[in-house]
């Protein structure tokens, strides 16, 4: 399964970071290719993301489901299941205070299944790091901007 990981420092209080990432729809809006999302309930939503695997772009609907949310550990994990595509994945945020900010670890896994799985995974392996880079940059930008406004 193609996996990408990233660790970054966000100059914002732990409480703000937690409040943001524990509402999964905030994360959806920071995903690359975000188009819109629909809230199903407090643990599940549908993310419409325009993906680009280097050949063409496609809007894929992912059902995002929170698997675990542990404030004490600063951990949010979720699964992703594509509608109309043989593709699934999972994501994880882990955050802890450091200095006046927060260190955030991000992990994103996405896997194509079925006959064409190997080909899809080869394409995802080349694009997933860029996707996570974008997600981390967006989270940092939004949270640090909000923190600055709040000061």
């Amino acid at each position: 399964m193609p996996v990408s990981q990233r660790e970054l420092y966000i100059a914002a209080p732990m409480e703000k970071v937690w409040d943001f990432v524990s509402t999964l729809d905030n994360v959806a809006m920071c995903m690359p290719g975000y188009q819109r999302h629909e809230v199903i309930d407090e643990r599940e939503s549908v993310w419409y993301l325009k993906g680009d695997v280097g050949l063409f772009q496609k809007v894929v609907a992912f059902v995002a489901h929170i698997e675990r949310m542990d404030r004490a550990e600063g951990l949010v994990s979720f699964t992703l299941a594509a509608r109309d595509e043989n593709m699934k994945g999972e994501g994880c945020f882990r955050a802890w205070p450091e200095g006046e900010g927060v260190v955030v670890q991000l992990e994103l896994k996405l896997e194509g299944g079925g006959l064409k799985g190997p080909l899809v995974n080869a394409l995802l392996s080349s694009t997933l790091p860029d996707d996570l880079e974008y997600l981390g940059d967006r989270l940092k930008e939004v949270l640090e901007r909000d923190a600055a406004v709040g000061q």
Partner: protein, 538 residues
Amino acid sequence: MQYRAECDVLVLGTGAAALVAAIRAHDGGAQVLVLERSDKIGGTTSVSGGVVWVPNNHHMAEVGIPDSEEEAWTYLRRLHGGSSNEELLAAFIEWGPKMVRYLEERTPVRFAAMEKYPDYHPDWEGGKPGGRSLDNEPFDSKRLPPEVAKRIRKGPLLGPFTHREASTWGPVRNFDFVLMANRVRDKILTLGTALIAALTLGCVERSIPIELGVRARRLLVEDGRVVGVEAEENGQTVRFRARKAVVIATGGFEWNEDMKKQFLRGPELAPTSPPFNEGDGILMGMAVGARLGRMNDAWWMPSIQLPGEEYEGRQLNRLLINERAYPGSIIVNRAGRRFVNETCNYADLGKAFHVFDPSTYDYPNIPAYLIFDERYHSRYHLATVMPGDEMPGWVAQGNTPQELAEKIGVDPAGLAATIERFNRFAGEGVDHDFGRGGTIYERHYGDPDVGPNPTMAPLDTPPFYAVEVRPGSLGTKGGLEVNGKAQVLNVWGEVIPGLYACGNAAAAVTGAGYGGAGGTLGPGMTFGFLAGMHAAAE
């Protein structure tokens, strides 16, 4: 007048015809400059299968298929049926094989004969069971300078396989997806992208500059001779001087709605090319009095659309090739009736969409639908949906033909009757209505494990499925009329000095017909070769 740049031969476009023209003009001693309006190199070729159809090419002997100029003449005369002219065909038959040999001897382009891929009319006199269609060898894009490699247009429609591999594998369940994945990882290109990358390396080796983001708009004419172009670059108007000639190779007009409306024989609703083919070169030629040919025609391709897919900001249109020939599928119109041999070549099939009903004053075969059943789904693919994948929501389904028909707005009784009739034919293996799977070409995309006709099986396993099929095209066929030297003619049939055309910007060399896979690129590259050779000698 101030010029942004000057050269001997100015080539407009970066498809295979254009790059061959550039290479040949350079080798003829000309200083060459290539302009491309998009930010990628490759044009329509890059997104194509990259097959090059050239009768009597030297690779045919390697696979034991003899050919001759005489056989090529016999086949091509019937193919064009008076819609082309013998000067063009003579040039193609003579220079096509020379062009192939030249590229292989002097550039990184490498071909191999597709011995199992027949002409589109292999049963005609002069037709061949294989060999005239040339496949590209895989190309390692790491051979290109990195800044050039990232500018090669990638094809969104076909996987990183060669046609010879696909012919050997058969239905998609046998495809080697691990091999294809390794090619993605290793940046190995195939098909049209490989052809463009190899030709681009040929340009790099010759230091031929290719300038991207420059859209030629008007020809500059002095004393009746074309001497350059006016172009748009970063919102500015700039001029380029061509001391010897301008070669127009800017593709067709399938993305120009006005030109399609004015010229084409019927609706074209789904171009599969990059959305930059807006007839720029044809319009420029018209403005200086060029004669037009075959403007009503296109390289038709039945196409389907998957919701949410985009290419260059426009809806991506997908080719419908194998799916039409797999057992357990048919194509029907609004009345639920079949209207064409689904396995015939795509260009000729496309013409069946344009049957006009003078009573209802519309096109009864638009929209059309590919209909298939669950047994098909368990064995064959539909676009990105593989056997074993859950059927996506964009595919209509019903537990009976009538229920399916209701959902897609097709006559339920008509569809049920059609399926019942087709199922009888399938048991017999003979399509008494349209002759489906009647030639070796038509059986090529079938399932060899199915008999007696590898393209026919009953649709009898629910649920039944449907997707809309649109009259699309690989590109348009009409354009500037040229002579056997690729020189553009004016409305009186006289040469316009300093102006050449090739590829889909020129009127199709083979007229109304489509000789075989690569029937666009073979003549296109041959006339690119001729354009470059004669332009350099001006």
